[in-house]
């Protein structure tokens, strides 16, 4: 077994020579001129290549899943719209109740109370209309951002440490 490294070297060189010809030269058509495409530049020549740092990129934590936060923002905005709509419904009910109470009221005090309720609800209705418009605008913006984010999504997650798939030798 002591001679195994030498054997491996010899086998490796013989195989490398074979693979160089049958895979790389044949696959990349080395030795044949480049097909020039009218709208593209020719590849750089080997001599123009600058040495570069070849150490692997340090593993980094996966970026925060932006699409989740956009989705959360869109959901929150939608909930805000629903909340305002619920307020409007409650206010409309208060207004209707006030009008009904005014009809039924006989005493001046009761009439005054009902009128106050009607006035407050009427005034609040205008405020709620503006609030709803703002919430709907926020919701649309959040939805647009979510749609833009979804358009970028790929069918898989980013990985920071690629694993090659070399044939498992031993």
């Amino acid at each position: 077994m002591a001679k195994l490294p030498e054997l491996a070297s010899a086998l490796g060189r013989a195989s490398a020579s074979r693979i160089w010809r049958t895979v790389v030269v044949a696959g990349a058509m080395l030795g044949t001129p480049a097909i020039v495409h009218a709208d593209t530049k020719a590849p750089a020549k080997p001599t123009e290549a600058k040495p570069q740092e070849s150490k692997p990129a340090p593993p980094s934590d996966p970026p925060p899943p932006a699409e989740v936060s956009k989705a959360d923002a869109a959901k929150a905005a939608k909930d805000a719209v629903k909340a305002v709509q619920a307020e409007i419904k409650a206010n409309d009910k208060a207004l209707a109740d006030g009008k009904a109470a005014l009809k039924k009221a006989k005493a001046d005090a009761d009439k005054a109370t009902a009128q106050t309720t009607i006035d407050d609800a009427t005034k609040h209705k205008d405020e709620l209309k503006q609030k709803l418009a703002a919430a709907q605008a926020d919701s649309k913006k959040a939805n647009d951002e979510l749609a833009a984010e979804n358009a970028k999504k790929r069918p898989r997650q980013t990985v920071s440490k690629p694993m090659g798939r070399g044939f498992i030798l031993s």
Binding site: R18, V23, R165
Partner: protein, 299 residues
Amino acid sequence: MSSDPDDALELGDIEPQGRDDAYEPTSPWWLSGTPLESEHHRLMRRRTVNIPWAETTADKLAAPERARLAATWMRRSEAEYMAVSTFSVLAIDLVAANAPADVLSLCLRAGIDEVRHAEMCLRMAKIYSGAENLPPPGMSSLPDDPDRPKLHQALANTMLVSCVSETYATTVLSATRDLTTDPVALAVLTSIYSDEVMHARLGWGYLRHAIEVGGEGVIQAAAEMLPRALRGVANVVERERPIGDVTDAVRTHGLMTPAEERIIYSTCVREVLVPGFTALGIPVGNALEDYGDAWARAA
């Protein structure tokens, strides 16, 4: 390219586009039990490498040797199984980058080839262990950067999967075949090798095409990917191995030691990968230093 007579010489008696008339279902315990099986067999019956399953010499091995071989062939089946998803994911990138039709069809066919490889490795594991196991479920991960051009994304992952991983696989398979005398192991390795040659060529062909289409930007993207691709395969080479000695008898059934594998990877980087990328104008950085003698002898 496959009609080149030199190719036929290098591939032995294999006709790369031929069919295997001696085909028999390889690992029937891994099939669905539905009529899909007949179409599956049609897809698998593509190579004219006859595997003489009955001629195995496994019975001449000691029990620990058979256990060592069973463990390695099982790992091989797992790796080949994962490669099915690797080529599937790569196909998505290639489609997104508007790759040529021949590149797409070869990439998708490579996934089918990997199914056949996984089946053969499972059967080899059964020969040594007697157990009819299945590869564990899993999915391959490839780097994904949504912000870069799709051509660069496809090119980068083609480099990892095909130019580097598959080219190394062909080199190591070729070297291992030279040591293998067991007729079944030799035929299986030859069958896998004949497919891997095309899987590797796929990458070098697409790389050439992408450079011609994309010019300097593609070269820059390739240069950025190269160290990651080389490290990715080195991660595989450096992984821990099954327990058990690689005896002389075990070696004749298609195994080398991890130390030998390092030497072969280093040789592949120096004599195949670096010259290939350099010839295409891609800067190779410190590849020769990173995977030179010091790395090769570190095991």
